[in-house]
């Protein structure tokens, strides 16, 4: 219980840090602070009125406290291009980003475990070399390049998958679900390809280490079948450090999602960011960062707690 509370406090600290950094970056940058709330093409009176309305004429400390108070109530300001609250804009988009990143993570883990086992059990062999080199190459890929390549080959040339959007708007009932999956394949695959390398390489090295442990030698000496030694004894212990990789890679995953959604016109937070960049809609950009940071913090908290449940040793440290 104390472990969960400590982790929760650390998550809140991270979130506070994210919010504070953005607040001061936005205020201290050379740009006009009014740009952060309103259109640059307006008259002087309107400008002054807006400054007062948004409390921008008050001292920085007061502004900061107001901002925090609004944030706690879930208020991220107004989008000045769409004239609706940023929270509304982003909450409509959030489920799509969660579907995309969640499915990408799931597929990565499902593919990553057997590939890591394959490489570790054939360490130094040619299968291992191929997997290692492919893993390093995959880590060097630029997300949009992968996305565009998959789109061109499997979407445009072969015509197997739709190349934009998240769902067929005409479809209803089960057909809508199928259409959703159908639209998900290419963006999800793009994210899986850039993520997989890291997982496989970590899985491989931790499993090789685990295979050298005494309990593996003991299991072998007892006459446990080689397959069972790997999958039942060594893998269980090698999986634990791999869960920390999942936490570390969340940042990459979120960045990748922003770029992938842009390419596939997938209506998530990332696409909202791309649109907001084009329209210089700063409140949306700021809100999107805060929301994504919160999602990453929450996911990290979950992995930490899960790790603590699986491995009681972590709880005491």
């Amino acid at each position: 219980m104390r472990f969960v509370v400590t982790r929760l406090l650390r998550g809140l600290l991270t979130l506070w840090f994210a919010v504070t950094v953005t607040f001061f970056l936005v205020r201290l940058l050379p740009g006009d602070p009014v740009l952060a709330v309103a259109d640059p093409n307006m008259t002087e009176e309107l400008r002054a009125k807006l400054l007062a309305d948004f409390g921008l004429d008050q001292p920085l400390g007061v502004q900061y406290l107001n901002y925090l108070a609004q944030l706690v109530q879930g208020n991220l300001g107004m989008s000045f291009r769409q004239s609706i609250p940023v929270t509304t804009v982003l909450m409509d988009r959030l489920p799509w980003t969660l579907i995309l990143t969640g499915s990408a993570m799931l597929v990565t883990i499902v593919l990553g475990i057997p590939l890591g086992v394959l490489a570790a059990t054939r360490a130094k062999g040619w299968v291992d070399r191929v997997i290692q080199l492919t893993g390093v190459t995959a880590q060097s890929l630029f997300v949009p390049s992968v996305g565009i390549f998959l789109m061109y080959v499997m979407g445009v040339t072969l015509g197997w998958f739709p190349i934009g959007g998240a769902v067929d708007l005409d479809a209803t009932g089960p057909a809508a679900w199928l259409s959703m999956l159908h639209h998900l394949v290419l963006p999800c695959l793009s994210l899986v390809l850039i993520q997989l390398g890291g997982y496989v390489l970590t899985m491989r090295s931790t499993l090789i280490e685990a295979l050298g442990e005494d309990y593996v030698a003991l299991a072998k000496a007892k006459g446990v079948k080689p397959r069972a030694v790997v999958w039942k004894h060594a893998l269980r212990n090698a999986l634990l450090p791999t869960t920390t990789i999942a936490g570390l890679q969340l940042g990459t995953l979120v960045g990748g999602a922003v770029l992938t959604e842009t390419i596939y016109a997938y209506p998530g937070i990332g696409r909202a960011i791309y649109e907001a960049v084009g329209q210089l809609d700063f409140p949306v950009l700021q809100g999107a960062f805060v929301l994504l940071a919160a999602a990453v913090v929450a996911a990290n908290l979950l992995t930490d707690v899960a790790y603590g449940i699986l491995d009681p040793r972590v709880r005491t440290s």
Partner: protein, 284 residues
């Protein structure tokens, strides 16, 4: 044979081991070639600007990489893009390394600073960096300088963590205590003992940070936050996305993508080769 090897200085041994690694050598050669292309861009192709007559032409003898939606030569764009992509990547990386080096060494040497700096680094590392870079780059206004500063601003914590952990191993060494005993100033000890000790780690870090900075630059430019007056690989992809060429003109996206892959992959392989060569025990 072993007697000869042990007579060499560690640096010579690293170099000998490195020369035996074909992947490492090839990567170094590719990086060198890209650097030459970046420096000699004006000699290779004219700066792509204005409108051309042939739009969306596939690769041909006249236009090696084809042309884009307004008839500009994609080959020229990629050549000039090499310049900006590499310059931004390298400058951002150098800036990030300097900040990371200072923070990392301060955290290791001045014990009282360790906790606050460590917390700062941990917090920065657990945030999604790209959306933060996007926000700052959009606010500061797109330019090459903005890109360099923004990328460096959010890349140094990684360097600081690596530097700190390797400097931590040096601080308790007897020669550091000896330097303190003879009355050496903190600055002198850091300069004479700590900095040389962490240089090998920083060497690998420069390479990896550069490749990450190149990817970050490409990502920001792809989203439309690149310098509007110059070409980078990300900018080419951004223009292709905006003109709707993603689904039709494969050559507008394939060549800049390959350039990014070539640069990032060779930097990664180079750092792997350097690490292997430096790690004498695992090599033998």
């Amino acid at each position: 044979m072993t007697a000869v090897v042990t007579d060499l200085t560690p640096r010579q041994r690293t170099w000998t081991a490195f020369r035996r690694n074909p992947l490492g050598l090839a990567s170094a050669a590719i990086l060198l070639a890209l650097a030459v292309i970046a420096l000699c861009a004006p000699l290779i192709a004219p700066f792509p600007e204005g409108y051309g007559e042939d739009t969306f032409q596939p690769p041909s003898a006249e236009h090696w990489f084809g042309t884009d939606d307004i008839g500009q030569d994609v080959f020229a764009q990629v050549i000039w893009g090499t310049r900006v992509s590499m310059a931004v990547g390298l400058s951002a990386s150098v800036l990030a390394i300097v900040i990371g080096l200072v923070v990392g060494i301060c955290a290791a040497y001045f014990r009282r600073l360790d906790t606050p700096l460590g917390v700062l680094v941990d917090l920065s590392l657990s945030l999604p960096v790209l959306p933060l870079m996007i926000l700052v780059a959009a606010l500061a206004g797109p330019s090459v300088r903005t890109l360099v500063v923004v990328i460096a601003l959010f890349s140094w914590p990684e360097v600081a963590r690596v530097v700190r952990s390797s400097a931590m191993a040096i601080v308790p060494m007897p020669f550091v205590s000896a330097a303190k005993v003879i009355g050496g100033s903190a600055f002198w000890i850091v300069r004479k003992h700590l900095v040389p000790g962490v240089v090998p780690v920083v060497g690998v870090s420069v390479v990896l940070t550069t490749s990450r900075a190149v990817l970050a630059e490409a990502g920001l430019s792809f989203l439309g936050l690149g310098d509007p007056n110059s070409w980078s690989w990300g900018t080419i992809l951004h223009k292709a996305q905006q003109s709707g060429a993603l689904a039709s003109a494969w050559w507008t996206t394939l060549f800049p993508s390959l350039a990014i892959l070539l640069l990032v992959l060779s930097t990664t392989l180079l750092s792997v080769a350097y690490n292997d060569a430096r790690n004498h025990r695992s090599a033998s």
